[in-house]
């Protein structure tokens, strides 16, 4: 079991962002974390990555409480970049290399090479799609046990989305788990093993994608639209 959350709660003032959330996820899976805006996706991911502290409940990653030990095995792609736009690509690479023992600079260089990006370019000079790609390459070049990707395809064109999905499929190691939070269900559906629907800070549904399609005879995307229709 790579992830265990039990009765996890987090409030922002009077708003319950996570409400007694219980969730278990096994190793070796690609999991879609789905839900409308404001239903707890980012809060959950930030809690797992150690950026937010929980108010109540239990969280274990690979059997450990959130802390230095879990940060070593969790590779996190935030929704908004924390990298300075003034940084050059090669500086980003050495930044990751310095920070993370499990970072494979050769792998990162090879992937950057395939994109034929100039390592001397600053992040701010790149297109949004290329910026996202560079950050994903950094995150996927770590040999982590749990990858947390918060909206990895937000606001990029379809070709860049394909690239991002392929990079995820080809780079996670077989015993690692990838959690992808997104609204773009149709785009990620084919690569997911499982889906988790979050509603008002609770797990509303957690299922194997193929079983769900078999049972409901519709795509996860169609089911999502039905469940969360306004």
């Amino acid at each position: 079991m790579i992830l265990e959350c039990e009765n996890l709660s987090k409030n922002y003032g009077s708003v319950k962002a996570l409400d007694n959330l219980t969730l278990k996820i096994e190793s070796g899976k690609i999991v879609g974390l789905l839900g409308p805006n404001g239903h707890g996706k980012t809060t959950l991911i930030k809690t797992l990555s150690g950026l937010l502290s929980k108010d109540k409940g239990k969280v274990l990653i690979d059997g450990k409480r959130i802390g230095v030990g879990t940060k070593k095995i969790v590779s996190y792609l935030p929704e908004r970049s924390y990298l300075s736009p003034e940084m050059k690509i090669k500086e980003v690479v050495s930044f990751f290399q310095e920070f993370y023992e499990d970072f494979d600079a050769k792998k990162a260089d090879a992937m950057l090479g395939e994109l034929s990006l100039d390592k001397e370019s600053k992040l701010k000079s790149l297109s949004k799609g290329n910026r996202e790609k560079v950050q994903l390459i950094m995150v996927m070049s770590r040999k982590a046990k749990l990858y947390l990707l918060d909206e990895p395809m937000g606001g990029v064109d379809p070709a860049a989305r394909d690239y991002i999905l392929k990079t995820i499929i080809s780079n996670y190691s077989e015993d690692a788990t990838v959690i992808i939070s997104t609204h773009l269900i149709q785009d990620v559906e084919q690569i997911l093993d499982e889906v988790v629907f979050l509603k008002e800070g609770k797990v509303m549904l957690h299922s194997d994608v193929d079983e769900l399609r078999m049972e409901k005879e519709k795509s996860v995307d169609a089911l999502f639209r039905e469940v969360f229709s306004c």
Partner: protein, 122 residues
């Protein structure tokens, strides 16, 4: 042939039927080596676990086989592939006939129409 998936069926089932089509069409030749799970997954744009599940099922049906170190191969058992071809052909005919009957054609009319179509579209 490109991989294409619909929204209704589980992906692994769709992979299974598309691989069967490839075997019957000879696109995947009897006895030939398959690409690795990860390569195939990447090519189809699906999760490697899903591809693995589909290949395991095809293995169970005897249409592909694994050799411990060498990888996976398309079965060279002609009996098996012939039977697969027959099954798929029958499936195709069944769908066609059912569709025609739904439109109100009698069996004799269907044969007549089919003959007419074939002779006109040589």
């Amino acid at each position: 042939m490109v991989w294409k998936f619909n929204d209704e069926q589980p992906i692994y089932q769709q992979i299974i039927s598309q691989i069967k089509e490839r075997i019957v069409a000879g696109e995947w030749k009897a006895g030939s080596k398959l690409k690795s799970v990860r390569e195939l997954a990447l090519e189809a744009g699906v999760n490697p676990n899903t591809m693995q599940k589909a290949l395991a099922e095809l293995e169970r049906e005897g249409l592909v086989y694994s050799q411990r170190t060498a990888g996976r191969f398309v079965s060279d058992n002609k009996e098996k592939t012939d039977r697969l071809q027959e099954e798929m052909t029958m499936e195709c005919i069944k769908t066609f006939v059912a569709q025609m009957e739904k439109m109100g054609y009698k069996k004799e009319q269907i044969i007549e129409m089919l003959n007419k179509y074939i002779s006109e579209n040589k």
